[in-house]
Symmetry: C2
């Protein structure tokens, strides 16, 4: 973990954003798979990790904003536990390492919160996404409890700006993620299955005693954006898309995407779209700078795609009008990227409007509504850059039948690309004082680099 002072400083900074009362931070419990004791790999809550750093289940922390006193609620191991689980540091020792000297039994939490509620002092909580935490908070604060907007804004403000310590962790996460991608690039060839590649990608993370930061996407159908099916066998002529990342030791996330041909070389058609997609990617990277709204980064990539599609005869008409109408969303129906940190979609559970929009309303237009980060970029933000080009037959058919944005398309030309699939590159960048820096070691992304890795 980080030094105790890091966690103490974060808690102190949090206090300066809030007026009074208690902050209740719920840690996560084990998560049952198919019965209570058969559990998924434990993942601590990210805000709990940020402020408290303790990485084991069944904890809660209470920060008293008035007295300045911090308390960890949790239970010491019994001799029975020790016989089954071996010697472990005590909770008191663990709490000391993150700068908290007060611990209390976990069963005391409800009474402690009840006393605060009875006294009329506010209890600030974040929105729960785990059902057990939701139920426990509801039992303490009442079923109609509301998460604290003041706390949400304070946490977003703090977690959005990554410190040097955090950036070092993110570099470790991206380095691991690059290893995961290179392993996949080397495996992708006809006859190999998506499952075999996904397994190897996970293996690289687990072998480092880490975990993937999100479920691996490993697919010959890159145009299916929410694709966790791994039942296909790669065949000649396919493209293979990997979207995968690993965690750092302290659970910061990497998030990368790559697309390679299953054959040793790109076909001309594949190369045409790959280069266009990479051009959009590089334009997005070049647009990232402090003070620039990430919405502009999104549209910089979208503009490259529209111009390219016009060059191919698939789109037509005025580029500005096409962008305003959302016509580019035919190929690029998602956003250019999102915040990255302890969560792969950083702080998503705190509300996209606070994390990515600074409280401003989101667009409702198809495509733009899926942009998770639109606000003005600041030094210390870490975000993904991941424009893609997808040929989605169902979307082609829908828009054609509805004549939606028909003035911008030659639907017959478009139909020639119907079975092409999808392409995406994704890298993770830090916004610096004067621009940006791609995190981690280089991931092959040019056609030449990729063909060299493939050997």
């Amino acid at each position: 973990m980080f030094p105790a002072a890091t966690y103490a400083d974060r808690r102190q900074s949090l206090r300066q954003h809030l007026d009074g009362g208690l902050v209740l931070l719920m840690g996560n419990a084990e998560s049952p798979m198919n019965y209570a004791d058969n559990v998924y790999p434990f993942r601590q809550d990210s805000s709990f990790l940020y402020f408290v750093g303790l990485d084991h289940p069944d904890l809660a922390a209470v920060l008293d904003l008035d007295s300045g006193e911090d308390t960890v609620f949790g239970d010491e191991l019994t001799i029975d536990h020790i016989v089954w689980m071996g010697d472990q540091p005590t909770l008191v020792d663990r709490a000391a390492r993150i700068g908290i000297s007060r611990t209390r039994p976990r069963a005391d939490l409800a009474g402690s919160i009840a006393a605060t509620v009875a006294s009329g002092r506010p209890v600030h909580v974040l929105p729960p996404y785990r059902h057990d935490n939701r139920a426990e908070i509801a039992a303490m604060l009442g079923a109609g409890f509301e998460p604290s907007l003041a706390l949400i804004k304070a946490v977003v403000a703090l977690r959005s700006i990554k410190s040097d310590e955090e950036i070092a962790e993110l570099e470790l996460a991206v380095d691991l993620s690059v290893d995961m991608h290179i392993a996949a690039m080397k495996m992708a060839r006809p006859g190999v299955t998506e499952a075999q590649i996904a397994a190897e990608v996970e293996r690289v993370a687990v072998a480092a005693d880490r975990r993937p930061s999100f479920p691996v996407i490993a697919t010959v159908n890159g145009e299916i954006l929410h694709n966790h099916y791994h039942g296909n066998t790669l065949k000649s002529g396919d493209l293979f898309l990997l979207d995968a990342g690993g965690e750092s030791p302290l659970h910061y996330a990497g998030d990368l995407s790559s697309t390679v041909p299953v054959d040793p070389r790109f076909t001309d058609r594949q190369r045409t779209i790959y280069d266009l997609s990479l051009q959009a990617h590089e334009m997005a990277l070049a647009t990232v700078a402090p003070g620039t709204p990430n919405r502009d980064v999104h549209f910089a990539a979208a503009r490259v795609i529209v111009e390219g599609m016009k060059g191919l005869g698939v789109m037509k008409g005025d580029t500005d009008e096409a962008l305003a109408a959302g016509a580019h969303a035919m190929f690029f129906p998602c956003g250019v990227g999102h915040m990255l940190g302890l969560d792969v979609h950083d702080m998503e559970d705190l509300g996209e409007v606070w994390v990515g929009y600074d409280g401003e309303p989101k667009s409702t237009q198809f495509g733009l509504k899926s942009l998770r980060l639109a606000r003005r970029l600041q030094p210390g933000f870490v975000l993904t850059i991941e424009p893609g080009i997808y040929f989605i037959p169902q979307l082609m058919d829908l828009w054609r039948s509805q004549k939606h944005n028909a003035e911008f398309f030659d639907f017959d030309e478009l139909d020639r690309w119907r079975d092409f699939g999808g392409i995406r590159n994704e890298e993770d960048v830090l916004v610096t004082a004067d621009g940006m820096r791609v995190l981690g070691k280089p991931k092959p992304k040019t056609v030449a680099d990729l063909e060299a890795v493939r050997g």
Copy 2:
């Protein structure tokens, strides 16, 4: 999945165990990791799989015991889903494949159940282990709802006896599990990390488009029974214990354990305990037969261990008295095995007293209280056989300080084994009409077999 008739027959059999009302079977939802949309690998509820077979989230099934009508509650995909997730079979088609012709929107479930409750007919539910299902059931049936004991007993009766179709799945699960173990045996050598081996073991399952059936235990500290720490590096002189299994395509579980020396050959001390542990294992296997209480299987293994420990001068006194006093639990503090099926501890969430004890009370004695399956074995039961020998320093110190079972130990002799570690073999067996059969392809377990695999 199995043929529709399999699921229809199971539902029909269930009806014959119950008098009337509704059976409500809750499917599982996606399980959030660190925010709502970053989810763990989906695992359907096992009883839902058994009776309904549908392997995707957000479903429920209602079996009307009076009308004989079965209904699946779930939602069809919208065009938005299809754009993001590709074409998928409809719910109506999926339901037809498991012999159910009625589907209703998921949102209708609460109203349907409310109408039944209002009419005074009973609604039978199983004990929920997922917090979201618990909350949803509580909202429908009231916070004080009780799981249906009649339903629990009926489900245990049906799921306990494996059909030929299920045995074929279990063989696939064990075959995969053997592959996972052989991969680990070949890797274990000085300088390799526990994490690297655990990663390779998981890779074997995921590459087959399956998943591990429970969290992998891969450790040089086999004496720590609940050990999911993978931070050690294997070194000369260590033993390495793997407890891991994979699922079949239809989510039946394999569960095997192996212990190998990190060096190419066992030392004399290691071989002594390994052979004793294997002798206990073989004795347990030989005791498995229809009509035999599994408690007897447990004690058959325990007796071998006590006799062996007396031979080593570590234990002393009368073997029967030592067994009655639970003295063997110094080395063997857990049970000889458990039911195996769609869950690795099959039906554990339905209550151990019904699954393993036929409603009889469990022992409270240390060791014996951890035996999950004591009842008389029947043809069609599938269970694990996994006696082990563990030298647990904390337990040695505890009993010595308490003089617990002191008449059966030479604590000074015992102390010579303090740093030995732990050894376990585990195999999965089917109780047949006249004995038992070990499932799956052979797993190396003799010293000679293991040393041959190690090369």
